[in-house]
């Protein structure tokens, strides 16, 4: 479904991604793990058109989407839940959700809104509240709900566990799995390697803008190298 081929990308003259190739199969959950600063967010930004790709291709459903305007990526069927949630705090909960369906019709948006509210009854209760007043966990649910309002085929999540209490993190991950079971393909960038590898089918390990390892998530979870660098030692994010 998504295929990143030999992508070089960065900010200005600084190259962050140095030839990254990975693929995400339809219906799967794929994790991208790595320490802070490894380039996970840059990969997401390259896919959503927010970082220029200097060479290489990003193919989604057979088409190269590298270089299309950022605001057209969502129309292709890719939604991103950005790092730090980025809920639009001056907008109400409901407005934030409708924002996610900006490119869709009114009726479709209303249907999706019902669906999101059925997943997160707490958001329904708080629909008229300014979204800045929600708790961190609720904001994460809102950010995921907003991304789902576009009815994406591929959902990208950038550090969904960041800044959340462990119990809330588990709740968020359970929900991501549920979305996947209902048919959404998931590509997850996460510092919390144990959580991410525990859920994903396949995973890539990113270090300094290059993929240093890949394989079925379960195998990586038991690989000595990964355990040492990302699960046991000081390198572990959370």
């Amino acid at each position: 479904m998504l295929e990143v081929r030999e992508v070089h990308a960065g900010y200005g003259k600084t190259e962050v991604l140095r030839g990254v190739s990975l693929s995400v199969k339809e219906g799967s959950i794929v994790a991208l793990v790595g320490a802070n600063g490894a380039g996970k967010t840059t990969i997401m930004a390259a896919i959503t058109g927010h970082v220029p790709v200097s060479s290489g291709q990003i193919r989604f459903q057979g088409e190269n989407i590298a270089g299309i305007p950022a605001h057209q990526v969502v129309v292709r069927g890719i939604s991103l839940v950005p790092e730090g949630r980025q809920v639009v705090s001056p907008l109400s909960v409901e407005e934030n959700l409708f924002l996610g369906a900006h490119t869709r019709g009114k009726k479709e948006a209303a249907e999706s809104l019902d669906r999101v509210f059925s997943w997160f009854p707490r958001l329904r209760e708080r629909r008229a509240q300014k979204s800045g007043s929600l708790s961190g966990g609720e904001q994460q649910m809102l950010a995921i709900g907003r991304a789902m309002m576009a009815k994406p085929k591929l959902l990208l999540l950038d550090e969904p566990s960041m800044g959340l209490a462990p119990l809330v993190v588990s709740e968020v991950f359970r929900f991501i799995r549920k979305l996947n079971e209902e048919g959404t393909t998931v590509f997850l960038g996460e510092q919390n390697a144990r959580k991410a590898l525990g859920m994903a089918e396949y995973a890539y390990v990113l270090e300094d803008g290059e993929l240093i390892m890949e394989g079925p998530a379960r195998r990586l979870l038991s690989s000595e190298q990964v355990v040492e660098a990302y699960l046991g030692g000081a390198g572990d994010g959370i």
Binding site: L80, F98, L99, H102
Partner: protein
């Protein structure tokens, strides 16, 4: 008491035009993070277009105002096309935009001087508008009512658009974060066009209104209002539309009172001075908020 009410009436009609001008100024700042120094030039051109409609074409004010609205809106959009859009693409520092828009303003003033001359011109007395009514010794001119009415109507329409429509939501989202807006499928470029159009259109109408109120139109009227607009925007809280509305009214009232009770020579000194005092008490402005909560 009568004098006080008279001053309030005068202050409100003046302040309403300041507010209409400043709203666009603050929107461009709040949504696109730009200080558009050519905002006064669309105001001045709006006043001339309105004047040309009334004086040369003999059109009623009800047509002159929409004409100024559309013309100034388009003129303002040209700023985005010529200056701010290309600079955004190059990720240039916003001070470059500030200087470039100053150049644009000077060019438009020079062009107006060439076409309309440097002398002050006046709106022909428009039949109905020259009337007034008296209530308890307070004289309210029809013109003041019309100006205030148009200003309130425009502000109400803008507030509705921003709060209740899809486009308004897009504008507020771009103000919060262009990146989040793009993720949702909003074109930042189109939103910038919409913002510049609305801002310029309001400024153009403000030009007509102030031209009517002072009965004077000149190529340099944009420069004075630019400073006042900047003051109003800072007073109201950078990027805040309700702040610009209230700040405009407040500055209008302060000015009229200082002319009435002190001296016209001190009008701007007192106006700007009082704004300074208010900002000492509330440094972020009347409706000042954190960066994230703007617009």
């Amino acid at each position: 008491m009568t004098v006080l009410f008279q001053q309030l009436v005068n202050g409100f009609s003046l302040g309403a035009t300041y507010a209409v001008f400043a709203i666009g100024f603050t929107m461009i700042f709040g949504v696109l993070n730009l200080l558009n120094m050519a905002h006064g030039a669309v105001f001045m051109w709006g006043a001339y277009i309105g004047l040309a409609c009334v004086a040369d074409l003999g059109l009623p004010l009800a047509l002159a105002v929409p004409a100024a609205f559309v013309f100034s809106g388009l003129l303002s959009v040209s700023y985005e096309i010529v200056i701010f859009g290309p600079l955004r693409k190059k990720e240039a520092h916003r001070w470059i935009g500030l200087i470039a828009s100053l150049a644009m303003a000077r060019g438009l003033v020079a062009l107006a001087q060439m076409i309309f001359g440097t002398h002050v011109v006046r709106y022909p007395t428009v039949g109905l508008l020259s009337g007034y009514m008296e209530m308890g010794g307070v004289r309210v001119h029809t013109l003041q009512i019309v100006i205030f009415g148009i200003a309130v109507l425009l502000m109400g329409a803008l507030a509705f658009m921003l709060q209740r429509t899809r486009m308004g939501r897009a504008i507020r989202t771009v103000a919060f974060s262009p990146r989040v807006a793009e993720l949702a499928g909003i074109s930042v470029r189109n939103t910038a066009f919409a913002t510049f159009f609305l801002a310029g259109a309001l400024a153009g109408v403000a030009g007509v209104l102030l031209g009517l109120l002072f009965n004077a139109v000149s190529p340099f009227m944009g420069e004075t209002i630019l400073l006042k607009g900047l003051t109003v925007v800072i007073l109201g809280g950078l990027g805040s539309v309700p702040g610009a509305m209230l700040g405009g009214l407040l500055l209008g009232v302060i000015e009229v009172f200082s002319v009435g009770y002190v001296s016209s020579a001190f009008r701007d000194a007192i106006g700007f001075g009082l704004v300074f005092v208010i900002l000492l008490i509330k440094p972020s402005g009347l409706f000042g908020q954190t960066e994230a909560a703007r617009a």
